[in-house]
Symmetry: C2
Subunit: 327 residues, 2 copies
Amino acid sequence: FFIRNHLPVPCINLKDYSLDLQLPSSNVSLSFEDLQNKFKKSSVTAVTQCAGNRRSEMVLIKPVKGLNWGISAIGNAKWTGVALEELLKHYDVDIETVRGKYIVFEGLDKQEDGSPYGASIPLELARILKNDIIIAYEMNNVQIPRDHGYPVRVIVPGVVGARQVKWLKKIYFSSEESTSHWQRNDYKGFNSSIDWHNVNFDKSVAISQLPVTSAICDPVEGAELEEDAEEVTVKGYAWSGGGRGIIRVDVSADGGQTWHEAQLKPNGQTPYKSYAWTLWEADVPLPRGINKTTLICKAVDISYNVQPDSVEGIWNLRGCLSNAWHR
Amino acid sequence: FFIRNHLPVPCINLKDYSLDLQLPSSNVSLSFEDLQNKFKKSSVTAVTQCAGNRRSEMVLIKPVKGLNWGISAIGNAKWTGVALEELLKHYDVDIETVRGKYIVFEGLDKQEDGSPYGASIPLELARILKNDIIIAYEMNNVQIPRDHGYPVRVIVPGVVGARQVKWLKKIYFSSEESTSHWQRNDYKGFNSSIDWHNVNFDKSVAISQLPVTSAICDPVEGAELEEDAEEVTVKGYAWSGGGRGIIRVDVSADGGQTWHEAQLKPNGQTPYKSYAWTLWEADVPLPRGINKTTLICKAVDISYNVQPDSVEGIWNLRGCLSNAWHR
């Protein structure tokens, strides 16, 4: 499971920890014990993916700003805690009717000037997700490791990692997006003719739900097959934002001339609430008489969204949203 | 607004019309007057699109089965009637808890053997759409024209036209999809290596929500510009299934080397319930010293889904889901 933070990882003593809810008519401060004991326990199994996953493929075309992630800035885990909707209901706040346009989350990780890491999601999106948004205090049935947000992190399934604030300290409603750098001036998409001289971050919509993606994990790049191999077993992951389940993965060993449909491993989720990834496997015949080939995969989600063919078509200055056919 | 029917258009006398609801504990028959007078009036403005829209671009690569639609098998209209959720609630049926996996719709249009046109949507999807599904008796504030389903049609916004049954006669819940040809053996997607010799319709998921698309409507193909023109004004539509609003449209006049962001006309809808299309316009500089150019457009939706680059990558035997960059 990848690790990414923008500010130094805070050192938190559980006894001192509190989660602050700024509600329309009251402010509430909850201890870790309160979170564990006062509310029903809820879980969600979900992918968390950095917007910069597979950025390394964009770098090959033209330099971009950001960490040079391969295909591994993604992880899948079971998160357990309190459903946000349930938590609010306890304090008589109905997520359907509460005023505001955004829910803002702030962490305990701080910039040099003392201001915290922050992110927000539109209330419209929170109302769609309802009790799938979890204020999590467990990751895979144990306390959340420090690098993943100990003791408390918000999980907003289907949404980019940057909005799933770790070391969660404060939740409030606002008529505006979080004013943080990462909400306003980062994690946005642009077309490939926008560069650092003409970019206007105000004109682009903050990334929330992520598009369909997939990647080949095995064999790894450069792997050698047996000399007389007639086929190759290919394995990987596929996932789409917004809970959209994966319905097909195609694999090609001849540059996209011929496609083979992979076997999808059931992930136990329903087509429109498929927050977990789908692992897949395909036995793909190798073209005859060659000694080198490039494998390609591409996935289709329940809305029949497909991955774009080329990195060129989606290249952007921040190297985000890199979801072209994986080669 | 395009017209498409699979069976002969029925001739319906309003006095004889009834809508039959087969509910878990009762059967209800509603006259047109009942529909108009017994329930709250609700409206939705939504795109209806044939899965075969832009099939003509797939035909250029390899023959496909289906009508040779250009970019016009799509329409946008205001539909008014009774929200399905509301209608069911009136008869004490809660869409959240009712048993079954699908809602099935049947029309008054019949095959030679007397069986009706039918379609279904997963109950999971109906629960997401809730009161946005309309049992419509008005189109753009007047009675629905005969070709569009007079007197009653179901509107399931964000979903392919084939599921939005016209001349609606019957609604029921089932553990199975509609058994109609168009649900089971048509309107499904396949990869481009599947042909009529190896196709297995059972293995593919029925098309419901459609992926992001856009098209250039003006100038039309073959249009001549003024001799000394330095730029061209390009206009078109963009839309995505599932209520996903359009956040960007890019236009290129140099084969995708340079992209210009179009102005989007507000459609009055919210980002995650944007069932109407988004019209757009862009002034695009023309490359110097050429006397012929191909314009390209591509759109991005709120989940940052993009259109695929090529028709080759999405070609399928039925010519469905043709949403590559429009050239």
